[in-house]
Every structure is written in C-alpha cells, then in structure tokens.
C-alpha cells in the first residue's frame, strides 16, 4: 500500500535566533513617528503667534 506520508522531508526555514532585523525596523518606525510628530508640533508653534 502506498504510504504518501513516509519519506517526505518537510523543510522549514528557521531564521537565525539572534537576528535583530525586526527589532531594528520597529525601533526606527517608532523613532521616525516621534520625530515627525515633534517637528509637526514645533512648526505649528513657530507658525502661530
């Protein structure tokens, strides 16, 4: 009888546990959000009397 499950190798890519790519991306996402809002408020302040 055919046994389709046997002998099939499943390969899952496991990324290096020490990779900090996602962390870097989220840190800069938050960083740029803070800078954009800060600069926005600053120019609002400068523009008003």
């Amino acid at each position: 009888m055919a046994q389709p499950g046997i002998g099939k190798k499943t390969q899952t890519k496991v990324e290096d546990q020490s990779s900090l790519k996602g962390t870097l991306a989220s840190v800069f996402l938050l960083g740029f959000f803070l800078i954009v809002t800060w600069v926005g408020v600053y120019f609002l302040f400068v523009d008003r009397f």
Partner: protein
C-alpha cells in the same frame, strides 16, 4: 563587551535625537529667554481692582519698552474684563493677566497664548499679533458652574 551592530545604530540614533530635542529647549530658555507665563510676579488677589495695571483693564500704548502695547486682563468667576478688545495688526503686545478668585485658564484659541491664571500670581506673554481676525479667549481650567460660559474676544484689525 559585545554589542550587536544594530544595537549600536539605534543607541546612537536615540541619543542623538534626545540631545537635539534637549538643545532646542536649552536654546529656547537660555538664549531666547523664554520662560513660563507665570514667573515669580505676584499680587495680592484681594486688591486686584486697586492695583496697577489691573485697575484699568484693556489695551494701553506704552513707550520705551520692548513692546508697543500692554493688554491687561482680569479674570473672575465667570468672565474676563475686558469682554472684548481690539488690537491693531502687527502690534507687539505684552498680555498681562491675573485672577481675583480661583484658578482660571486663559487660552486664545488658535494661537500660542495659553496661560494658567493663579490667584496671587501674574501671568504674562509677549507676542506680535501679525494675523488679522477674531480670536476667542476661553477658560480651560475648570473654575465652577459657569466655566463653559466664560469667554472673551480679541479682534486683530488692519
């Protein structure tokens, strides 16, 4: 000690932005001389009506000062005196305000003039009214049952 390359990048980024933001505050305070609206000037809150300049609220032209006009406001539950005032466009004005009773707010909507008026203290703000229009003054510190009806108006006219 081993520090990951990415960690170095965001540490430098974070520290740099912190230094930039704090430098802006430092320049504003120590070079441009900006200070809180209520800065050590005091008054007897029971004698506001007889103490200059609060005995004559409103707009006054002054000579020999850094500003051209002084705009005096007295706040009390639940109104500002004057209730409406005209300011010529382009005038450099020192807004001087205090309260006779409880804490009131003094916010000129749509501008940077936003002060807390505390009994016993004088709040001041120097600015140039360079955009014509009507500006609503509202109380933004809850002062009692009539708080929401407390308002005044500055008309900046050509």
């Amino acid at each position: 000690m081993h520090i990951h390359k990415f960690e170095k990048i965001w540490l430098i980024f974070g520290i740099t932005t912190l230094i930039v933001f704090l430098s802006v505050i430092g320049v504003s305070a120590f070079y441009l001389g900006n200070q809180p609206p209520s800065c050590l000037a005091t008054i007897n809150p029971e004698k506001v009506d007889t103490t200059a300049p609060f005995d004559k609220p409103g707009l006054k032209k002054v000579e020999g000062k850094e500003w051209d006009y002084e705009l005096v406001f007295v706040a009390s539950a639940f109104a500002y005196n004057p209730g409406q005032v005209e300011v010529p466009k382009g005038a450099k004005v020192k807004v001087i305000a205090t309260t006779k009773d409880v804490i009131h707010g003094f916010q000129v909507a749509g501008t940077n003039i936003n002060m807390m008026l505390e009994p016993g203290y004088i709040s001041e703000y120097v600015t140039t009214f360079d955009k014509a229009g009507d500006y609503l003054i509202v109380c933004n510190e809850y002062c009692g049952v009539g708080h929401h009806m407390m308002s005044s108006k500055i008309e900046v006219v050509e």
